[in-house]
């Protein structure tokens, strides 16, 4: 068995043995890229923590982190900047992993939670709670967000399933439903008085501006379980990408794998949206960028996770500093850049055909 495994490793891959006798086939360049991206993400996070409008020396920031310095230093660094940077890393990682799973299962680079309407639906749910129910505590907004997101995703998938959920059909149904919901969102905002509208508009585009420690706890807990599970599932996902028939022929339980993977993807997207609001296009762009940088044959969960974290923390830094002191909601920065990237990917990039067409 061991000799067989050693010889049949494809070029560019190595084997990662795990306790319990299983092993993962790891694309070498993807692993290197993922490690590098994690370092980049951490470096940007350090910049975000150490610099800002409130001037503090790097040693002072470090000192505040370990409990020294003045009260104000500690407040700024530990209660303001650290949770924001941590949230950017975690939400970005969740969205990157979620996007990788969706794109892998739908075998379509556009099958991300943004495009199939999950994020718009989540925004509608949250706005309904903020503007109509009037009881806008963190919990009620969370519930509204999740209900809106899941209901929309269910409708879109049901519409697409009626005639075989090919990628483009899923995507276009998502666009049609999202168009209705976007009109609803605009309507809700226009109906509110100006104070409520200001609250809603800051939230509805996805923002890390006012993040604090409490909402980070559920995010961290969910990620602690879902991210390792997603990494483990990536092995089956690679097989699933070969097509249902082939995957079944090599012994994969197709329906079960797909259900588990989609549940994980929805879970990751939901916790990200619930924490930071609907952050657009990150789940779409991160896996595709990661795939291009890593030159891997398919979407890789590990590299996408790292790319998501690096992208969101960079976008957040940009959102914080670009029009300072005005704080742009980070979701708008990702939507502006991600939308432009999608246009480029769809229209201006050479027709590579590899995974850009329907499969």
């Amino acid at each position: 068995m061991s000799g067989f495994g050693r010889r049949s490793l494809p070029p560019g891959y190595f084997r990662f043995r795990m306790p319990g006798g299983t092993a993962l086939l790891v694309h070498r360049r993807s692993a290197v890229v993922a490690a590098a991206l994690f370092l980049v993400a951490l470096a940007v996070a350090v910049v975000e923590i150490a610099t800002g409008d409130y001037t503090i020396t790097p040693t002072g920031a470090l000192n505040a982190l370990v409990g020294g310095g003045s009260d104000l230093d500690r407040f700024i660094v530990v209660d303001q900047r650290l949770p924001r940077a941590a949230a950017a890393l975690l939400v970005g990682a969740a969205l990157g992993a979620s996007g990788a799973i969706f794109q892998s299962v739908s075998r379509n680079p556009l099958g991300s939670p943004d495009i199939i309407g999950f994020t718009t639906g989540a925004a509608t749910g949250g706005l309904t709670v903020i503007l109509l129910v009037g009881a806008s505590t963190a919990t009620t907004i969370l519930v509204g967000t999740l209900v809106g997101g899941f209901a929309t995703a269910a409708v879109v998938i049901a519409l697409a399933l009626r005639r075989g959920a090919t990628g483009d059909r899923l995507v276009l149904s998502g666009i049609a439903v999202a168009a209705m919901l976007a009109a609803t969102n605009d309507y809700l905002v226009s109906r509110a008085d100006i104070e409520n509208a200001e609250v809603a508009k800051a939230w509805q585009y996805g923002s890390l501006n006012a993040i604090s420690w409490p909402p980070l706890l559920p995010l961290a807990v969910v990620l602690a379980f879902a991210l390792p599970a997603a990494l483990l599932a990536s092995r089956s996902l690679r097989v699933l990408e070969l097509g249902d028939d082939t995957a079944a022929a090599v012994g994969l339980r197709v329906a079960r794998t797909r259900t588990v993977a989609l549940a994980l993807g929805v879970c990751l997207a939901a916790i990200a949206v619930a924490t930071a609001g609907p952050i657009g296009f990150l789940a779409l762009a991160a896996p595709q960028l990661a795939r291009r940088v890593a030159r891997s044959p398919g979407v890789t969960v590990l590299a996408s996770t790292a790319m998501g974290a690096a992208l969101l923390v960079s976008a957040d830094l940009l959102a914080q500093r670009l029009l300072s002191p005005f704080q742009i909601p980070v979701g708008l920065v990702t939507a502006a850049i991600g939308g432009a990237y999608l246009v480029w990917m769809l229209a201006l990039a050479p027709a590579s055909g590899s995974r850009s067409g329907r499969t």
């Binding site: 502006a336 432009a340 769809l346």
Partner: protein, 338 residues
């Protein structure tokens, strides 16, 4: 020739269709003048129309409902006709100025006008709307000629949605940054014909009229274009000049309609599709009829918006999105997977 005859006999004849379209338009115009928070009878509407004597009926008709009715007619005609042009230009049945980002281009440009140049009235930001709509139309067209396979219909829509999302995000960053712009923008962006006034209507009317005339001039050549570039050239159509003319017309129509009423989606998608089912594929017929049916759809959406949310109102852009999105879904589901 016999095929042609068979085709004609299956479809409604043009004069019948024209009369029917005009009747429907007049009907919806009267409804739009009559229905609202104070409903008027037909007699009161006619009295108010004919005798502008300062009576309550005439004030309601002339000052409150006539401007929005006229604007709905003008904008509806512009959007529906530009939808026909866009579908002919890109040879893509899903093309529509709202979906493809032309309206978003106009909106982005208008918000820059509001925020950076302090424009407040429709006629002030009209030129910015033309600029944005024109840039977006050219861009979308460039995308569409790079991809010519049948399966790329969906891809063009996606590119348009991405363009809309990207421009929309930039627009929102500006409106968030500038609170006064946000307050006027949030009402404008939904797409509404209410509270716009006669001056808005008359400031865009010449441009839309010119656009409609240009569209009708293009009509016969569009039929040739539908056969493919080589066929069109061999039939004597100057293809490049025609394309430039069509893009200019789309820019005029969409820019003016968006400046006056805000970005309104789906009118340009729904109307041509419904008309093709009823009246066949001749672009000349479709163009003329869509200039009648587009206004009817806008008026109907506006009247529905006034009825279902009483005592408040639902903006026409919200209603058209809810009427139009199911049509898009139906179109998608009807097409067999390629």
């Amino acid at each position: 020739m016999s095929v042609y005859r068979a085709e004609r006999s299956r479809r409604i004849r043009l004069p019948v269709a024209l009369i029917a379209g005009a009747t429907v338009l007049v009907l919806f115009t009267v409804l739009s003048l009559a229905i609202g928070s104070k409903n008027l009878s037909i007699g009161e509407v006619l009295n108010g129309l004919l005798a502008a004597d300062g009576s309550r009926g005439s004030i309601i008709v002339w000052q409150l409902r006539m401007p929005r009715t006229l604007l709905a007619i003008v904008a509806g005609a512009a959007l529906a006709v530009s939808g026909v042009l866009m579908q002919a230009l890109t040879r893509n049945p899903l093309a529509e100025p709202g979906l493809l980002g032309v309206n978003a281009g106009a909106a982005f440009s208008v918000v820059i006008a509001i925020s950076a140049f302090g424009a407040t009235r429709g006629d002030e930001y009209l030129w910015f709307a033309f600029l944005g709509a024109g840039a977006a139309a050219v861009f979308v067209y460039l995308i569409s000629i790079r991809r010519t396979q049948a399966s790329d219909h969906a891809r063009l829509v996606l590119a348009g949605v991405a363009l809309t999302a990207s421009l929309g995000a930039c627009t929102r960053i500006i409106t968030l940054f500038d609170a006064t712009a946000f307050d006027s923008y949030r009402f404008w962006v939904i797409g509404s014909v209410a509270n716009r006034g006669f001056d808005t209507v008359f400031s865009v009317l010449p441009f839309i009229a010119a656009g409609l005339v240009l569209a009708f001039v293009c009509g016969p050549s569009l039929n040739a274009l539908a056969l493919g570039d080589e066929q069109a050239v061999s039939l004597g159509v100057p293809v490049t000049a025609l394309r430039i003319l069509v893009i200019a017309t789309i820019t005029l129509l969409c820019g003016a309609a968006t400046a006056a009423a805000g970005p309104i989606a789906f009118v340009g998608l729904v109307v041509p599709h419904v008309l093709r089912l009823i009246a066949g594929v001749d672009q000349r017929t479709i163009l003329v009829l869509s200039a009648l049916v587009g206004p009817s759809l806008m008026l109907a959406a506006d009247v529905i918006g006034r009825l279902i949310a009483q005592p408040s109102e639902l903006e026409v852009g919200v209603v058209t999105a809810f009427l139009g999105a199911p049509v898009l879904i139906a179109l998608l589901l009807r097409r067999r997977p390629a």
